[in-house]
Amino acid sequence: MMPLTEEEQAMLAGTQGPAVQKAMQMIVALAEIYGAQGLVPIVSAQVAGVSYKNLGDAGLEFLEEWAAQGARVRVPTFMNPAGMDLERWQEMGIAPKFARQQQRIIQALMTMGVALTCTCTPYLVGYAPHQGDHLAWSESSAVSFANSVLGARSNREGGPSALAAAITGRTAAYGLHVSENRRATHVIEVHCPLCSEADYGALGYLVGKSVGDGVPYFRFLAQPPVSSQTRGELRLEHLMALGAAMAASGAVALYHIEGVTPEASYALSPAGELPVVSITDITEGYIALDSPLDEIDFVSLGCPHSTLADIEKAAALLEGKRVKATLWITTSRAIREVAEQRGLVARIEATGGKVFSDTCLVVAPVEERGFRAMATNSAKAAFYSPMHSKLQCRFGSLEQCIQAALSGRWTGEGRNLKT
């Protein structure tokens, strides 16, 4: 039995009520299963498993019961995307029954004190952790970003365990909470230049397949990863796409980039050679994710949730035109609000496109819309949608996707990559 503090033992014994006791039982069981040395206080929690599509009535019932038992979070805790835009769900074609059950889930989580962020990018909307902070986050791309780009420490928690951590204020100290486990396991030498977020997604797909749950250490050899005003510039969106893809095709929760990410300088252990994966071409990644479709009736951008810069880019490309395909740009409600204030939402929606918040392609019940062929700039969405939404897709850059939205066809126009 691992050591618990007096307060932790009290929680486990039920002195703080059955809701806290159940949460502590989960945390302690996980600590024992994964051989944790103890528990660690967390700074914040991010709860996945919000969409009714994934939770179903079982999850809804459990959350309502837990909330009714008095479960309350003790650290800042925020929601992953839901199955719909909580205000504009009718425009998404969501069935009223789905909407009702989704609202009940949101209500139960809010009763527990979980913030209505509904995003996989909490770090863009005021919940960025500091380096070294311990977290219990669960959405895989958010976990990857927090660990890799921000240097915080989180395992990929399950939805229920993230909530249990929020309710107890602690999580099990194993895995990426422990410094030794944050060292690189593979060196990835990238010899080809990369341009778009789709290129980084294709790379991430390949690396995730190859390293599984390892910790890749990237060396970008064909171009300096950070240089301003060039096409090779490593943008925030590139890091988001890279991390999201590796977490989808593999289970990568932490990566390092030489000269870029905060822990890269001590990620290589002095002793021992690491396996080196050499990448000279990302075409294999495109082949795996891209199906040969000509007609496109659905274009989805925003997995992970779109940044303001991407919404601006889309608005500029769409300006004054009309979309032929259904176009959804999904983002957090906070970013959407700023985009609305700046007139971007109106500009995009005047073309027939939609900017939805609170949801995304991966967790919304899009299979019920009867779309035939999708285009996306997200390797993660392209990886999941054949399974989750029974949709084949085209995979390319934001520019190519906007072209497809306008023409209803995939032409390959706007392809800004090398090969």
Binding site: L30, F62, G158
Partner: protein, 128 residues
């Protein structure tokens, strides 16, 4: 009679007929939450009902949302009487705690066969 000792993931007492799977079980999409039937196509237990059985399998797999499936099974009275794993992982462990299903892991599950009468009491297991 065989006595086995494992590690209690969720302490409790239960007795039932063993239902043994040689391969992992995923609960989300793998088990019907309303009937307790295994619905994963091609699974060795496909079509079997886990309700009231002592469910023995190596480990869990699949989506973390599968924890809620175990909870739902308990709510509708179709949960297994107990769960025995060779090596437990987060999905099934959290689900067993949510659902209040006695669960033991770190057990040599090759000692248990479908149809054996199995008793679970904390970390102790009696077979036969």
């Amino acid at each position: 009679m065989i006595r086995l000792r494992g590690r209690a993931i969720y302490r409790g007492k239960a007795r039932g007929l063993a239902l043994v799977s040689p391969v992992p079980i995923g609960f989300l999409g793998g088990v019907d939450a309303e009937t307790g039937r295994v619905i994963e196509v091609g699974h060795p237990l496909e079509g079997e009902c886990i309700a009231g059985r002592v469910l023995v399998f190596p480990t869990g797999k699949g989506s973390t949302v599968g924890s809620y499936t175990l909870y739902r099974l308990a709510k509708v009275g179709k949960a297994p009487a107990a769960i025995i794993n060779a090596r437990s992982e987060a999905i099934v462990a959290v689900g067993a705690i949510m659902a209040g299903i006695p669960m033991v892991d770190s057990v040599d599950i090759t000692q248990i066969h479908t149809g054996d009468i199995v008793e679970v009491d904390g970390e102790d297991i009696t077979v036969g």
